[in-house]
Symmetry: C2
Subunit: 405 residues, 2 copies
């Protein structure tokens, strides 16, 4: 009787917290599941809405729809209609069997986007919140939290005198860092436009991937640094601002070379604060989209800093040139210097459907005409986190191997 009583008190605390919250959907009595991964890797979505007139699901596992614009054809996520069970008020939809992958989805209830109230896995990408689901299998295992040694994620701050502010930065240290006493090589990993120092963690599953490929022996233990590439922001606007508006594209769209020029401040802070091997042979830099543009600019601007360079779906200069801006000028001359020092790896990857594909063709033509050596990987798909997670797995597994030769 006494056992029952303390359980009751604590359960009552929980119930009260829920009732005062916004969604009273957490309960022991109803165990409605959504999403449910079925044994054939199809996925069933469920949504309780007796009064709704229409419930749809949209996600990157559905066939895409096309939208023609003045800039070309855009691919948009597809939709599927859920069907209502009138007896219970529960709407449901089951997909075809899906490939093992990390997928994103939302519901659309009577025309209003909504998170799945039965799924706590929520990811922010720019200004959108979406639910995550993982279809398990070898191909997606690296994105899960596995029972293997885990690294530590540090959310810390560095001083940038040239940008005039303290700035938040995320640092991953590999399992064992706290006690090993050893020094580690460092990968600097840059996000795209609209991203921030959280992007590779949340959408890129950085910690899970690194834990996985290091534990498997595919990658060397390394530190990974995730800076914020928006030079006007001290930190992610999702964490920083409690009452100020979502940044505009003008606030994100800063391509004046100031961030790239400030990069030695980041490397200096990391080398001072963490146990790194502070030389070129033990430093890599890579980035996606705008972060690929940053990677290209930073690595050529500081040719003695990084021995490994990765451009993931990079917004490279190609047909468009940016020689007018200080740091961006004299591209060929600076590339000549960078490649003259024979980087250990200059790696370019892009999907065949990426809208930056032709841009990359043009950039590779610049490299080819000067006979600079690089590796090129062309994948399926477009400008997606799915590709960038894969590129990270491949690129990170290539790093710092020469150290042991």
């Amino acid at each position: 009787m006494r056992r029952v009583s303390v359980f009751f008190v604590l359960a009552f605390v929980a119930s009260l917290e829920i009732m005062c919250g916004q969604e009273a959907l957490w309960s022991a009595s109803s165990r409605l599941l959504s999403p449910e991964i079925n044994s054939d890797n199809s996925v069933t979505f469920r949504y309780m809405a007796p009064e709704a007139k229409s419930v749809k699901v949209t996600g990157d596992f559905l066939p895409k729809s096309k939208l023609e614009t003045e800039h070309g054809v855009l691919e948009l996520p597809g939709f599927a209609e859920l069907v209502k069970d009138d007896a219970t008020g529960v709407w449901s939809f089951t997909t075809a069997p899906l490939m093992p992958e990390l997928y994103l989805y939302n519901f659309l209830v009577d025309g209003v986007y909504r998170l799945d109230p039965l799924n706590l896995a929520v990811t922010r990408d720019i200004a959108s919140f979406t639910n995550r689901l993982l279809v398990p299998g070898e191909e997606s295992d690296a994105y899960n939290v596995n029972k293997i040694p885990h690294g530590t994620v540090h959310k810390t701050w560095y001083d940038s005198p040239t940008l005039g502010m303290e700035r938040r930065i995320t640092v991953y240290t590999p399992a064992g860092y706290e006690t090993s006493g050893e020094s580690y090589p460092v990968l600097y990993l840059l996000h795209g436009m609209g991203g921030d120092e959280n992007a590779w963690l949340e959408n890129g599953r950085l910690a899970e991937i690194m834990d996985y490929i290091i534990n498997k022996g595919d990658a060397e233990p390394m530190i990974v640094v995730l800076p914020n590439g928006n030079p006007r922001m001290p930190m992610s606007p999702a964490d920083d601002r409690l009452h100020t508006p979502i940044p505009t594209t003008d606030e994100y769209r800063v391509a004046d070379g100031s961030y790239e020029a400030s990069f030695p401040e980041i490397v200096g802070y990391i080398d001072c604060t963490y146990r790194t091997v502070a030389d070129k042979m033990h430093r890599a830099i890579a980035g996606l989209s705008m972060g690929g543009f940053h990677t290209m600019q930073i690595s050529k601007e500081f040719p003695d800093m990084f021995d490994y360079v990765g451009l993931f779906s990079a917004a490279t200069p190609g047909r468009v040139r940016v020689d007018g801006i200080g740091l961006y000028s004299d591209l060929e001359l600076k590339l000549q210097k960078q490649f003259g020092a024979s980087p250990a790896l200059y790696w370019i990857a892009i999907g065949r459907d990426d809208f930056l594909y032709e841009n990359n063709v043009a950039y590779r033509a610049i490299l080819d005409s000067a006979r600079h050596c690089y590796e090129y990987v062309e994948s399926e798909g477009g400008h997606t986190w799915r590709n960038w997670r894969n590129y990270l797995k491949i690129f990170a597994s290539r790093l710092f191997k020469h150290v042991n030769l």
Copy 2:
């Protein structure tokens, strides 16, 4: 012309990312603001929905509604109707002037709960996602990200042989920790039922509060440790599970003493991994609700471990006793031993409207009858994060002062 071109390419990347996302609401051209803090500290909410029939806002700044249940009267958040401007399709509502505070809110669009798509500040509490807004002023300044030295937040893992798993734990180290070489006292800070190792960070604004009170000189520099108090979970279900259901109350509702018994594993891990002063004089423990229950049990079970004890709206045993379970038995005897060693501070705080108020009256009667010395603070309000953030500010400012006497 060339400058314009690179800007265009990058902006196009951003546009595409948005169009492929779920909410195409981020744009440079429309700068609809929500929430907007007006000069008199009233707040205007705006929501674009030309087709909607009803838009409401619900939040903890509105007068509460009461709900009678068999367990007593529950207070629920109030609602306010937004009014539509037919010309623009924008709904809006302006509050009365508000006290400086951190508030939570959601929209209700045609009966469907929805996040504010114009506000990136989103907080999870148990299974609910809500938007945050901060009305600025001295009382709420500690909850903002201020231009002061910042500590580091570490998301790391410790091994619990008694619970049979690696478990994630959050650790705050104060500004300067990385370079000072000094050792620090430690506050162990526990969450409530339904919370996890993220709860004090997200809802409690732990890092912002500690940065603020340490910088102001109100509190000593200290390490703060946020463990996960759900003994069946290795980590927050929001981060861990990509396709498994929201935990039931049965999964959270574990009161068997196993977590409390395992606590020396946490203290041992922290003392091994961080530069702590590893003695009783330099250790504090506090917790809210279920975490207050844990704090009471752990501190009396290990009377040589903590010199400072804080119970915030604690689910203390009072009218309900739990002597039937091993670690929870012999309460008076164990309290006798704990108070016999004269803890530097035993601090109890609760709001007058808290549903656990009478429980705390009964627990204080137990302490009083044995003439144990403690401090008692009674505040306005109930079982809310608003109170717990305040209690943290007060309690943390009382810690480790004797070291300098």
